[in-house]
Subunit: 173 residues, 2 copies
């Protein structure tokens, strides 16, 4: 059974009659009810992620680095001598999409590609000196502005618990 045209019209009329109470024409925008939405973990996860990325972008704006670019630089620092496929896979980036991303970083002289000597198909990746310097500055901004704010909001213990649960979901779910 589907809703009838008449029922639709009635509902539309109802919204009119219920309306004018607060004082003739007072932009009366009562907040909506989230209902079960506020119990949906995925929903809060997404909204929180957007907020955190937005703040990251803002905090690290002077260096013009996105979260994805920052993650690449971090990974290159800790894993010198790896090729594109290895870095991309670790970050969940598809190899074709990683090409343009690297082009961007390399054109800014933050990292470099070098043909591997033992497998000439591979491009060994490494940070440049400028890449290391920018990464160092980025880490400081992230720690002192971004993560510090999160710590302030949640408290160190809660922040650690949150990170632990998120990591668990990312790994085991």
């Amino acid at each position: 059974m589907t809703v009838s045209k008449a029922a639709v019209v009635d509902a539309a009329k109802a919204s009119r009659t219920v309306r004018k109470e607060p004082a003739e024409e007072a932009t009366e925008t009562s907040p909506l009810h989230l209902g079960e939405l506020s119990e949906l973990l995925g929903y809060s996860l997404k909204r929180a992620q957007l907020k955190v990325f937005e703040d990251f972008l803002h905090c690290v704006a002077p260096l013009q680095l996105t979260p994805a670019q920052f993650s690449v630089l971090l990974l290159l620092e800790k894993n010198p001598g790896r090729n594109q496929t290895e870095i991309a896979n670790t970050l969940g980036i598809l190899r074709p999409n990683f090409v343009a991303m690297l082009d961007g970083l390399e054109s800014r002289d933050l990292c470099a590609r070098a043909r591997s000597a033992n497998d000439r198909r591979s491009h060994i990746l490494m940070l440049t000196d400028k890449g290391r310097a920018v990464l160092a500055r980025a880490k400081k901004l992230v720690a002192s502005k971004h993560e510090a704010r999160l710590n302030e909001l949640l408290g160190p213990a809660n922040r650690a618990a949150l990170l632990s649960m998120l990591t668990k979901i990312a790994r085991e779910f």
Copy 2:
């Protein structure tokens, strides 16, 4: 100071010499080190969110609903008589992008638009009977398969704590 061509070549050679130890040509793919990445809240947040959405999609696949569509139906159920702008704003969807989304739901007879009687610019939104039925089935799938799995992984207390922190970040960060 930038890294020299020679340094780059040296690093490439180094990766060769360090290489063959485990047993001549044994796809030796030692796992990469995440380093500071595992302490970056935003990184875990993103990876966890992707996992959760993927599972949601899978659990609710029989009904062909995305997380975003599910959130719209939930909101319509709890807030009948609201217009497109109000629903879209609440979900953080831009009005122009909400049009195609509604077209999809309406073409499947899950919800309906009706011109408001007091403001003929507005489209009052409401669930159809079919929309209510599909939403009811979706809720059951989400609760019994999706959220149940998360509860199993984290435990009820941790799950509640996680939700509380995510909500706090989404609201106050």
